[in-house]
Symmetry: C2
Subunit: 200 residues, 2 copies
DNA sequence: TGTACATCAGTGAACGCGCGTTCACTGATGTAC
DNA sequence: TGTACATCAGTGAACGCGCGTTCACTGATGTAC
């Protein structure tokens, strides 16, 4: 039986992952404007020059964090994309959308920062975002085929439904909802009510 | 006839207003994270210590800018709060909401920054925000009285309707809407469709 | 209408700070033989 | 199984930068008489 190391190893072992985790923690604590490479390194218990071996610069770290967040979000939506009709799939997606935003408010906000477009040089972020939109579009199309969702251009319907979920999620995590007596349960009622409007 | 002054006056005359205007311009150009006192002073054509006579510190300037933006937004909503029924008033409010956000995306974003709560020491920002919410709540109540809006707890209905408008506005100005072929006209269809769901 | 003087609203130099980034370095790890 | 050595992944000092804020100052304005 070996004694557990008390001194941290000189080589971290998995610093890249640790830095991403630390970055998420910084954002959760101080918001994205408090995210600095030095603070991330501090949290990971490493000198401030160490991240250079894993991320070329600050934008590179943010990019990786956004990609990771998109992947996590998309996985949750994919798991939620179930139901015996298109309308049920849409309802389930909408609820998952709001629930994930509520559970991960800072990561959620990160996904929609307009300044991200400035650092998405290869378009990989845009592609990751599109994967989730396709889920939504598919559910809408399925619902129109099985006649459980209202007619109309699928993109129009999908964007309106997305707006509903996004609005509830945003008002819920940014405060206005709760400041007016809106609980997460009220948010759930709101998204259900709004998505009911898409049923045929 | 006097020659127009070519040298700027030593005393600006209305520096406070000029600084607020410059701050709005900075935010429009670089986003709120690019807002610095020095840059604001630079735009206003004044030394970087000059703002001190008008704003105690940076938070003070941001606070003033937010208040000004809330007032402008509330005035627009108040003007839009017309219609022969509660349902029409709600529709008109929702459209005005999205239109103003589209016309003033950076100011709109500013109003909902979660970190604002940190600088709203006197609660004046919360009060300004509440004024607009009351408009919405009144329209919903009126619509329930005249039976043009669905039944339900007025706060529930109001928060759901707000979510719809907020979601459309946010997705429109932050990109996802346009990135998927959604024009401002599509946004208008989206908000109309969503608010139609509140008609009785 | 002039003059003296207080007050107001600017200037520009200076401060300390945390940031991103660079650099020479060093200890740990992996590999060839 | 050892050994030599390249490479990898850290350290810590240093840099230049823009920031918010402070300070002594100065020119413009307003007011009392």
């Amino acid at each position: 039986l070996r004694i557990v190391k008390e001194q941290p190893a000189y080589h971290h072992g998995n610093l890249r992952a640790a830095l991403l985790e630390a970055a998420a923690a910084v954002i959760a604590d101080t918001g994205v404007e408090g995210l600095t490479l030095r603070e991330v390194a501090r949290r990971a218990g490493v000198s401030h020059a160490a991240p250079k071996h894993h991320f070329a610069d600050k934008a590179d770290l943010v990019r990786a964090l956004v990609m990771e967040s998109f992947d996590a979000f998309a996985a949750v939506l994919r798991r939620a994309d179930r139901g015996s009709s298109g309308a049920e799939r849409l309802q389930s997606l909408g609820n998952a959308y709001v629930r994930w935003a509520f559970a991960n408010p800072d990561r959620f906000r990160l996904l929609f920062r307009p300044e991200l477009r400035g650092i998405d040089d290869t378009g990989e972020i845009a592609r990751a975002a599109d994967a989730s939109y396709q889920l939504l579009l598919d559910a809408v199309s399925a619902g129109q085929s099985d006649r459980t969702i209202i007619t109309g251009a699928p993109a129009d319907v999908a964007l309106a439904a997305w707006s509903a979920a996004h609005g509830v999620a945003t008002l819920l995590i940014d405060g206005p909802f709760r400041a007016r007596g809106g609980s997460p349960a009220a948010a759930r009622r709101a998204i259900d009510r709004l998505l009911d409007g898409f049923r045929r």
